[in-house]
């Protein structure tokens, strides 16, 4: 199994969810992060002083997927998250040693696979 971690823009989240859902990914975990990289921050003004914010809000999407679909999952994310503008973010892939579904205790690849798309958010 592989863990896919993507740092993306807020507005691309639904597309990425849909793309992963299509591939039969069993689920995703999403969290809010801020990050900096090439993308410049923005400037604020308050009572005459100015401030520069360098950490920009992003969305982190994590999903553990069976090794066989890892590559397709990465491509799917890249395709769904790209806008071509600076700040699109990154996708990282990590090795996973075990995965257990708490409810059933079942473990291994089965625990992170499912069949037909669920239609998250629809």
């Amino acid at each position: 199994m592989k863990k896919i971690e993507a740092i993306i823009r807020h507005e691309r989240l639904q597309d990425v969810q849909d793309a992963l859902d299509k591939l039969g990914v069993s689920g995703v975990t999403v969290s809010e992060v801020v990050g900096c990289g090439r993308q410049k921050g923005y400037t604020e003004s308050y009572r005459g002083s100015r401030a520069n914010i360098s950490l920009i809000p992003k969305i982190k999407v994590e999903s553990v997927v069976p090794s066989d679909i890892a590559e397709r999952a990465v491509d799917a994310i890249v395709g769904a998250a790209r806008t071509g503008e600076i700040g699109d973010g990154r996708v990282f892939v990590y090795p996973v040693e075990h995965s257990i579904r708490i409810r059933t205790g079942e473990s291994g690849e089965e625990s992170v696979r499912h069949e037909e798309p669920v239609g998250w958010g629809h």
Binding site: R9, H10, E11, L13, E32, Q39, K40, G41, Y42, T43, E44, S45, S49, R50, A51, N52, I53, I56, P57, I59, E85, I86, G87
Partner: protein, 470 residues
């Protein structure tokens, strides 16, 4: 706008003193009533501030619905029961404000203000009393329970008791019980209903650990609690000073001063106690101190001299902190209604028996001077009788009503619903949606501006960074 000005057919007659006097009285009564109506904002934010975020929204329709039900019920029958005649138990005249003749409402006839003004003033009192009931029930009661009890309370419970003490009923007429603006009538009654509800409702999930120790479930917004307290304080000038039902003679200004001195002392008393008992200056308790003192001075406000006000208020502030901490050990009263309105209401009512100055008792033509002037326990006894009578009757009826609700419609949401929060469960949406869910165009946080956005903005400049602070 009317058009009398433009119409020549209407002879314009210069008003006389006979027209001016009622107008003067009525202005003050209406202004006072409007101030008291505004106290609903105070109760709204007292409960919002002391709730968790997931239960903050439901309080808005709760307050609106209760105030509205009370408005219609008090108009239909409440005012008639309370003031429509001098019967020992209840009045009869004036349902639906069918008559606006001052004679129909003998207990209010001492003021030349118009009857609609007096009705409006008495109604907002009823609404305040009803609002107090719910302080103990937040974060777990079913919405429907509000509606049912509100009808009984504003159509029956409040009117009858207020008739006994305000409307020329047995406690006032036969015993001369002193309660100038309602420490008992408004506040104790409300707190009594709150106690009945709480006993049948039980504590919030998680309030008491397995060991029975009370847990901390902090309200989510102390600044809004501060708003609530100041708004109540503001409204109380209408509440107490308006209970003169008029301005001529100038007593109302003295009552306002008395009220303010008491409240001020209450804040200091509560802060002192909070520091002694908890070794910290509890934010909410400083507010409870003000409210308790205002509640306590409500009954004596028209009967005591200036010097007595700070004494009564300070004592109330001290008492309320102790009461909150004691009650919290067994009863889950998130806003402290039992202490601030109940215990302080009792104290304030009894305080008349101690501090009433004979001069003012005579002026109001109710009861006698207090113990400290007369050395006699008589008035104190009367006050105690009044407290017992009001508490026991209201408790009995309220407990019955809430028990009936519990057995039929149900009083409390399910444990799951309580965990999810009343906002989403009763109203389908959070009170603070962006705190709980992604919102279109604001997915958690709005997306960042690209650098240099918007163009109007000047060039970046360094911002304080933590290290610069270190």
């Amino acid at each position: 706008m009317t058009d009398r000005g433009r119409d020549p057919t209407i002879p314009f007659m210069e008003p006389t003193l006979k027209d001016a006097l009622p107008a003067i009285e009525t202005i003050w009564v209406v202004v006072a009533a409007v101030l008291v109506m505004f106290m609903q904002v105070g109760f709204l934010f007292l409960e919002v501030g002391f709730s968790r975020m997931k239960n903050a929204g439901t309080i808005v329709p709760k307050v609106l619905a209760n105030f509205s039900i009370a408005a219609l019920c008090y108009w239909a029958v409440g005012f008639a029961l309370a003031f429509g005649g001098a019967g020992w138990f209840a009045g009869t005249e004036g349902t639906f404000l069918g008559t606006t003749s001052n004679d129909a409402f003998p207990a209010l006839a001492f003021s030349s203000a118009t009857v609609p003004a007096k009705f409006f003033f008495q109604f907002v009192f009823c609404a305040v009393s009803l609002a107090i009931v719910w302080g103990t029930t937040i974060e777990r009661i079913k919405f429907g329970a509000y509606l049912i009890y509100a009808v009984v309370f504003s159509a029956l419970i409040y009117p009858v008791i207020s008739h006994w003490i305000f409307g020329g009923g047995w406690l006032q007429a036969s015993f001369g019980m002193q309660d100038f603006a309602g420490s008992t009538v408004v506040h104790l009654i409300g707190a009594t209903g709150a106690l009945a509800a709480l006993l049948l409702l039980g504590p919030r999930h998680g309030k008491y650990g397995p060991d029975g120790k009370p847990n901390v479930i902090p309200g989510h917004n102390m600044p809004l609690v501060g708003l609530a307290v100041l708004v109540l304080w503001f409204g109380w000038f209408g509440f107490n000073a308006g209970s003169t039902l008029g301005a001529i003679g100038g007593r109302f200004a003295e009552v306002a001063v008395v009220t303010n001195l008491a409240a001020a002392a209450g804040v200091l008393g509560a802060l002192l106690m909070s520091h002694l008992l908890t070794r910290t200056l509890d934010i909410g308790m400083s507010g409870n101190g003000a409210i308790a003192a205002l509640v306590a001075i409500t009954a004596p406000s028209g009967y005591v001299e200036f010097w007595a006000a700070p004494v009564i208020g300070f004592t109330a502030g001290v008492i309320v902190v102790g009461a909150i901490i004691a009650i919290d050990k067994k009863l889950d009263d998130p806003v402290g209604a039992l202490s601030a309105h109940g215990v302080a209401g009792v104290w304030g009512t009894l305080a008349c028996g101690l501090f009433t100055s004979p001069r003012l008792a005579e002026l109001n033509a109710i009861g006698k001077g207090g113990l400290f002037y007369t050395g006699s326990f008589e008035q104190l006894g009367v006050q105690a009788l009044g407290v017992v009578a009001a508490f026991s009757s209201v408790f009995a009826v309220s407990f019955l009503v809430f028990y009936a609700i519990k057995r039929t419609y149900g009083l409390r949401v399910t444990p799951e619903e309580e965990r999810y929060g009343l906002d989403i469960v009763e109203h389908g949406m959070w009170g603070y949606p962006e705190q709980f869910m992604p919102v279109p165009g604001s997915e958690y946080r709005p997306p960042a501006l690209p650098s240099g956005w918007p163009p109007r903005r000047p060039a970046p400049v360094s911002m304080a960074t933590p290290i610069q602070e270190g």
